[in-house]
């Protein structure tokens, strides 16, 4: 079955420190992969996406992620965290399905809540 696992429910880092959020997926075909960020009470903002090609993708706000097919992983990284990065981060896989494979539903992980210490 298609699934996304984010092993870390909660992470605390100091401002200026580096960050890596883990994401593992289970999907039979070549996946479309996404990272979204959600501030409290808000919708989801797309940080970056992987469809094909270069396995290291750059996103907004200084984030990047690396697709590793052999490890079924798509970890999110940032070299220096800012206090404004405190939020919940969701990894998602775009899964074909529906009627004739036409659907591109997103399957989300349970999220990682990031706290930033001053």
């Amino acid at each position: 079955a298609q699934s996304v696992t984010q092993p870390d429910i909660h992470i605390t880092v100091s401002e200026g420190a580096s960050l890596e959020l883990r994401c593992n997926y289970s999907y039979g075909a070549t996946p479309y992969l996404f990272w979204y960020v959600q501030s409290p009470g808000q919708g989801l903002q797309l940080l970056l996406k992987y469809f094909s090609g270069d396995t290291l993708v750059q996103g907004i706000k200084g984030f990047e992620a690396e697709f590793k097919r052999s490890q079924s992983s798509f970890n999110l990284r940032k070299p220096s965290v800012h206090w404004s990065d405190a939020a919940e981060y969701f990894c998602a896989v775009g899964a074909a399905g529906g009627y004739g494979g036409a659907t591109n539903k997103l399957i989300f992980g349970t999220g990682t809540l990031l706290a930033v210490q001053p």
Binding site: V4, Y32, F34, Y36, G41, Q42, G43, L44, Q45, L46, K49, F90, A92, G94, G97, G98, Y99, A102, T103, N104, K105, L106, I107, F108, G109, T110, G111
Partner: protein
């Protein structure tokens, strides 16, 4: 350009009532998807519409229904509300079926 908009922002209903949530996609986007996000969880897929046709349905009961209009806006209807329907309902739009999805701010539904 305006992003995805949803209305209302918040809604309080009682068990057994019916609710309609509305979504306007980004201009030019033809696909709209609906997701339910229960507190502490990731969003769960409910429906996807493209060119006014339902293209996919998640594991939700028949109390949930939706439609897409000629202007590509969409409504999500939930009948016979249960306490467990309390959640943030998110709408997302995409240019076509297989492009990245952009989310609206959501509608917070509370069922008492």
């Amino acid at each position: 350009d305006a992003g995805v908009t949803q209305s209302p922002t918040h809604l309080i209903k009682t068990r057994g009532q019916q609710v309609t949530l509305r979504c306007s996609p980004i201009s030019g986007h033809k696909s709209v998807s609906w997701y339910q996000q229960v507190l502490g969880q990731g969003p769960q897929f409910i429906f996807q519409y493209y060119e006014k046709e339902e293209r996919g349905r998640g594991n939700f009961p028949d109390r949930f229904s939706a439609r897409q209009f000629p202007n590509y806006s969409s409504e999500l209807n939930v009948n016979a509300l249960l306490l467990g329907d309390s959640a943030l309902y998110l709408c997302a739009s995409s240019l076509q079926l297989h492009n990245e999805q952009f989310f609206g701010p959501g509608t917070r539904l509370t069922v008492l």
